[in-house]
């Protein structure tokens, strides 16, 4: 295997190697950015509320469809991004408020019920939008192919990177400039005592869940012009988000950023160098990291 690898690398360094590396690096980065938007919400919900929200990938997909509908009505892509995020936030809040809340502390029950919602939302997609694949157009202003020297890249991917960076910055401020973060963790540690310290626990959980879902919806809409709208995409993309959350450490912003980029890059270069081991190359590093640091790169030890 090492020999094959060396041969491939050598081969790549001949000719257009520089270009190849740049392109793959950029691809990895941009895909990482998209995965970040998906995974960050999962990480929040997971790390902070200890809910394994299997519905997250489906939020992402439903968000895409809602974004498409908004785009069709209003013709405004940016409105679609926001709207998709908000509607999914509402869906998430509804599910948290009326279902998950009753099951606090019952991990398996929560997993089960979020799985129920996967099926329900999937059927909703079939009912409302049908099984036809759909494609979403991006605004002309961000849909060109940019050239820098001989290096070309789609500007839309650049746009996704910018949005992801903005979201990361926003979350950082939110976490560090408000006491919200510690209120949430307190509530997870000890619901009763947190409310005994004046934390409005139901509200806190609702906000976290809403925020996490919002990110999924937003990421979903952003993925529209890139991945297309395809019934079934939700469960295909969910493992990527899981990997990010696991490797980065649950609930950690820093971890999610780093792990997303890592996943993006490993996925890219893995598929480049070892196309036959595409998934192995994604999950093996993860297993190794976990063997050494079970809590992930930036997870809290408890």
């Amino acid at each position: 295997m090492a020999v094959i690898f060396a041969r491939r690398v050598l081969c790549l360094f001949r000719g257009t190697a520089m270009n190849y590396w740049l392109t793959q690096l950029f691809n990895g980065f941009s895909y990482g950015a998209l995965i970040f938007l998906l995974a960050m919400g999962l990480s929040l919900i997971f790390g902070v509320m200890q809910v394994i929200n299997v519905t997250h990938g489906t939020y992402f997909l439903v968000g895409t469809y809602i974004g498409l509908s908004i785009l069709t009505w209003t013709g405004n892509f940016y409105l679609a991004i926001l709207g998709g995020g908000l509607v999914i936030a509402l869906v998430g809040i509804f599910i948290e408020r009326f279902f998950l809340r009753r099951l606090r502390g019952n991990d398996l029950g929560q997993v089960l019920i979020t799985f129920g919602f996967v099926l329900l939302l999937q059927d909703a997609i079939l009912l409302i939008w049908g099984p036809d694949p759909k494609l979403m157009g991006e605004p002309k202003s961000i849909s060109f192919t940019a050239h820098i020297g001989s290096f070309t890249f789609p500007s839309y991917r650049l746009f996704v990177i910018v949005v992801a960076a903005a979201v990361a910055a926003g979350l950082w401020l939110f976490e560090n400039k408000t006491k919200f973060g510690s209120a949430v963790r307190a509530a997870v540690d000890d619901v009763e005592m947190a409310s005994g310290m004046g934390v409005n626990v139901p509200l806190v959980f609702t906000v976290v869940f809403g925020l996490g879902s919002f990110l999924a919806g937003l990421g979903g809409v952003l993925s529209g012009p890139w991945l297309g709208l395809q019934y079934g995409l939700d469960l295909e993309i969910l493992p990527y988000a899981f990997v990010v959350v696991i490797v980065g450490g649950m609930g950690s912003l820093k971890g999610a950023i780093l792990a997303s980029l890592l996943v993006g890059l490993v996925d890219n270069f893995g598929k480049g160098f070892f196309p036959d081991l595409a998934y192995f190359t994604l999950f093996l590093p993860m297993a190794v990291i976990l063997a050494v640091r079970p809590q992930g790169l930036f997870g809290r030890t408890l």
Partner: protein, 397 residues
């Protein structure tokens, strides 16, 4: 001796398809095709009523097996038709012999009509069948395209389609210089697109299911539109995806056993009209046509044996020597004696109507194409089945 059809009750036909999961779209198209079929041919054949038993394999191969088993043992169907993946075809075929029940594999696993034949299995076409013709057309019409990259899904369907192309293409002096197979559920094609060799002139692409949607967009975004001459499998631009694909696939050339919804033959237009009634005015593609066509063939075989489907051997034999020249949206079909059909292959490109709607324009029709192309069957069967490494990639460095 008591051939009274009514006494034996209805003929039960099991239909395996994917109504949920990633391939759900194909299921809806196929079920609409079944409705269109009923409109034209009714639910009585050879004096017996026909009942259809649709089953959803949820786009999962193992579940398809379970469902076929259920159709045979639970619903006691006389024949099973379906299987979306080539893999499903391979997986369900053994059940035909196990339960002594005819299975009409609607999809295209090559080997089921070549080296791995089953007594109770026939199939509609071979994956490589149209792509032999594609290669021939490309060599003849665009001889400047000499070096070609192959890109396809990483399973039987991908290997067999591109294997057929490679075989004929190289036999006619072309060179395949790179072969890349991506898992069917690949989400981001960036890593693959980044690897395409710059020194090639053309690409042969096969896309299955959801790939047809994501790949063209990402290919276009990478700025490769005008870099390569792109030819490929008819599934790339099948009508189910065509509307969503938009301009990204304009000009793509593909080969398939169906000429497309716009193909002006009378049989086809009637099929398209009927189909549209059942699916919100949408165009049928090959997934619908194949399902429909297979049912036509099954009816013909039932008629040929006067409805005596309980006699399985006779029924199998009838299926194995069908010859239909009329009523088929994809043109005449003739059994080749190996459990497969000789068929028309259409070379189409994607064009745009004034209204902006995309459609297939047929550039050329190869008639009565055998799964063995112009090779002698005995010779052909001596080589291995088309696979990831066969034909070997002589010109890849």
């Amino acid at each position: 001796p008591r051939g009274d059809a009514a006494e034996k009750g209805p003929i039960r036909i099991g239909l395996l398809t994917s109504k949920t999961g990633v391939l759900a779209i194909h299921g809806t198209h196929q079920m609409a095709a079944v409705e269109a079929f009923k409109d034209k041919y009714g639910t009585t054949v050879a004096g017996r009523k026909v009942e259809f038993y649709p089953e959803d394999d949820q786009s999962k191969v193992p579940l398809g097996v379970t469902k076929v088993r259920k159709l045979i043992t639970g619903d006691k169907v006389h024949i099973v038709m379906g299987g979306l993946f080539a893999s499903t075809g391979y997986a369900i075929a053994p059940l035909g012999d196990q339960y002594q029940t005819p299975i009409f594999v609607w999809s295209c696993p090559d080997d089921l009509s070549q080296r791995k034949r089953y007594k109770f299995v026939v199939k509609y076409f071979s994956c490589s069948q149209p792509q032999h013709a594609m290669a021939h057309w490309l060599r003849k019409n665009k001889p400047q395209v000499k070096k070609v990259i192959i890109f396809g899904p990483d399973y039987a369907f991908g290997y067999e389609s591109s294997g057929g192309f490679q075989k004929v293409f190289e036999d006619m002096g072309g060179q395949v210089v790179q072969k890349i197979y991506a898992p069917i559920n690949t989400v981001d094609y960036g890593p693959y697109i980044g690897q395409f060799r710059k020194d090639a002139e053309g690409m042969f692409v096969t896309l299955a299911g959801p790939q047809a949607l994501r790949f063209p967009k990402q290919y276009q975004q990478a700025g490769l539109r005008d870099k390569y001459v792109l030819v490929g499998n008819g599934t790339n631009t099948d009508e189910f995806a065509l509307a969503a694909q938009g301009e990204d696939v304009l000009g793509w050339i593909t080969a398939h056993i169906y000429g497309g919804a716009a193909y002006p033959s009378q049989d086809n237009q009637e099929f398209v009209r009927n189909f549209k009634k059942h699916l919100g005015n949408k165009d049928p593609g090959y997934y619908a046509e194949g399902y429909y066509g297979a049912l036509v063939l099954i009816y013909k075989a039932i008629e040929a044996i006067k409805g005596d489907v309980e006699n399985k051997a006779k029924f199998m034999e009838a299926l194995g020597r069908t010859k239909v020249t009329e009523g088929m949206p994809g043109g005449p079909k003739v059994s080749d004696g190996y459990g497969n059909l000789n068929t028309n292959v259409y070379i189409r490109d994607v064009r745009k109507e004034a209204s902006g709607k995309l459609y297939h324009h047929v550039l050329h029709v190869y008639e009565n194409v055998s799964q063995f192309w112009s090779y002698r069957p005995e010779e052909f069967l001596k080589q291995a089945v088309y696979d990831k490494d066969f034909p070997p990639c002589k010109f890849c460095k």
